[in-house]
């Protein structure tokens, strides 16, 4: 018997096309790196997100030195000395006499690795009195670098979980509306329009106001996800419904029905997979919306509450131009939001190019 060649399905071909897009692959690796740092944030960061020292409010970054008096040495940082000028503004001066050498696997704040392994070992840090600020400190003297890593946990996961919820709702509602048609379609689509009719951000604020304010941070986190997903599903449901209207007329749908396959199975197995080439890139392109939505809520102090970190609530520090002038490093979270959003957008666009057969320049191979 002739050995059968492995059959490349539509997605294998699309994946090939996608892999050829170098910018998109770079974005994939960037995102993987960001998610990796978020998952191991407590290990990789020198301090915990709430480790503060008010003596170092808005302390600038402490540069890591590799050269000491012309000779290469183990990396170290200098100490900082706080003085005030005649207007009582803080002036930080480097104290060259004090040296704290950087150490790997140092003991620091206690945490639970991956949520269940209790430990106090950090990937790097310094021991003793000094403070290590790779990117500077915020208003309460907390390490911005550590908080960026912790903030990534919220900002990066909110998009994924949010998209998971809203797309499940959108696919099922759109699928049901398109498959059944008639009254069910009418009812579900009017519901969609009611959600889409209200300007998104006001709906966001109104729903947030409906959430009890004695929620703890985890509850707030999940309520934000639910609120964001509640706004996000309608647009998708409408498009999926349109696609299902034509897909349900396919012969294989009728064939499945003549064989007694249940409606749910038909929708999930025989109709929705054919909308995947659309929904996959739609998912990618809508993740930034959740990240930005969380950032917007947190910026208005309606999202994740201090001392918990998210890129959005870290940015709320940067609302005053004076602070940005004297401590420009508090804009770092904005850079990471920007980086994440642009990565998701590039990946989404590359996926669309790869999945859309009309744009394909090469034939099936």
């Amino acid at each position: 018997m002739i050995k059968q060649k492995k059959y490349l399905n539509e997605f294998d071909i699309a994946l090939r096309g996608f892999r050829k897009n170098r910018v998109a692959m770079l974005c994939v690796y960037t995102l993987l790196f960001l998610y990796f740092t978020a998952i191991f944030a407590d290990f990789l960061s020198p301090y915990s997100y709430k480790n503060e020292d008010r003596n170092y409010s808005y302390s600038p970054a402490t540069p890591v030195h590799f050269v000491d008096e012309g000779k290469l040495t183990w990396p170290y940082i200098n100490g900082l000395e706080l003085t005030y000028n005649e207007y009582h503004a803080r002036i930080y001066q480097t104290d060259r006499s004090v040296k704290h050498s950087l150490k790997f696997l140092v003991k620091g704040d206690e945490y639970k690795l991956l949520g269940f392994i209790p430990t106090d070992v950090h990937f790097f840090g310094i021991e003793g009195e000094g403070r290590l600020y790779l990117l500077g400190a915020d208003s309460r003297g907390r390490d911005l670098f550590s908080r960026l890593l912790y903030g990534g946990r919220v900002s990066l996961s909110i998009g994924l979980i949010g998209v998971l919820i809203s797309f499940s709702i959108g696919l099922i509602i759109g699928g049901a509306a398109g498959f059944y048609g008639g009254k069910i379609d009418n009812l579900l689509m009017r519901l969609c329009e009611m959600v889409m009719m209200v300007p998104g951000f006001y709906l966001l604020l109104a729903l947030r106001a409906a959430v009890p304010d004695d929620f703890n941070s985890v509850q707030v986190y999940f309520s934000i996800i639910v609120i964001l997903s509640f706004i996000g599903w309608a647009g998708l449901a409408r498009i999926i419904r349109g696609m299902c209207l034509s897909l349900r007329e396919r012969d294989y749908v009728l064939a499945a029905r003549t064989l007694g396959v249940s409606d749910f199975t038909i929708i999930v197995k025989h109709i929705l997979p054919h909308t995947l080439s659309y929904s996959i890139f739609a998912i990618m392109l809508s993740i930034p919306g959740y990240i930005l939505g969380e950032a917007a809520l947190s910026l208005l102090a309606l999202g994740i509450q201090d001392p918990f970190a998210s890129w959005g609530n870290m940015l709320s520090d940067a609302m005053s131009i004076v602070r940005i002038k004297f401590a420009p490093w508090i804009l770092w979270p904005a850079f990471f939001i920007f980086l994440t959003v642009i990565c998701f957008n590039v990946i989404g666009n590359a996926l669309r190019d790869a999945l859309d057969p009309m744009l394909k320049s090469e034939g099936q191979n």
Partner: protein, 258 residues
């Protein structure tokens, strides 16, 4: 004569501009046990609509306004959707004209046959696999284990048609409705598929309802015929009666066209 399924005065209407138009107009027909029957007629004669109304899968907008479809002691038109679904595939299944469209392109043949078995039988995973191989053997496919793992587009037209027949008989139905099953096949393949139908009818003790415009096919294969035009059965009886002594003018024209 012991009828497996009997259609009585079936009328299907579509509402157009506030008026009713009859697509199927008072059709009555009996399908006996273990027989091959046929609806013959031109396009638009209502034969496919009649077939779909047996399964209660009429396209949106079409409704049965009166009549009965008696099967196994039930009037199919009165039973609930969930009971009807349990019967589809298990008691009555259907074969389509173009098997490439009737298979979902994203699943393998084996998977799609297995879906029927999962729905209607309580076989274990391994038993289902064995059953699929059996079914594919039964429809005379030469390499069942390969076909099982193939996607629909990897098979030839004749193989796909056989695979679809295997899917239709998977849950051992008593009646198979075959809507133009051979129109897209060449003549030699048609003959082979027809032989297969006859063999399956005898082996599995089932009835087949052919829906076709091809009177030549009908005269070779079927036992009973109903000639349809304009939504009405103009003449019905045994194939011999119809082909040798046609009474109706339309039937005579059809016979002349042979």
């Amino acid at each position: 004569m012991n009828a497996l399924l009997s259609i009585k005065d079936l009328t299907v209407v579509v509402h157009e501009d506030g008026r009713e138009r009859r697509l199927v107009d008072g059709v009555s027909f009996d399908i006996p046990n273990n027989s091959i029957s046929a609806f013959v007629g031109g396009s638009g004669s209502g034969k496919t609509t009649t077939g779909l109304s047996i399964l209660k899968l009429l396209p949106l907008g079409l409704t049965v306004s009166k009549g009965q479809i008696l099967f196994d002691g039930d009037n199919l038109l009165n039973i609930s959707e969930s009971k009807m679904r349990a019967r589809r595939g298990k008691d009555i299944s259907m074969i389509f004209q173009e098997p490439l469209n009737a298979f979902n392109p994203v699943f393998t043949i084996g998977y799609q046959i297995e879906e029927v078995l999962r729905m209607h039988t309580k076989l274990s995973k391994n038993a289902r696999k064995a059953r699929i191989l059996d079914l594919l053997k039964m429809v005379e496919l030469s390499d069942p284990s390969r076909v099982m793992n193939n996607y629909p587009h990897q098979l030839s037209g004749g193989m796909r048609q056989r695979a679809m027949i295997a899917q239709a008989i998977a849950a051992s139905p008593k009646l198979i409705i075959a809507d133009e099953p051979t129109s897209n096949l060449d003549v030699t393949l048609q003959a082979k598929i027809m032989d297969l139908f006859r063999k399956l009818k005898n082996e599995l003790n089932l009835s087949i309802l052919l829906i076709t415009h091809d009177l030549a096919l009908v005269s070779h294969l079927s036992d009973y015929v109903a000639v349809m035009t304009n939504g009405q059965v103009v003449e019905s009886g045994t194939t011999k009666q119809i082909t040798t002594t046609p009474q109706n003018e339309y039937t005579k024209q059809l016979m002349k066209a042979l």
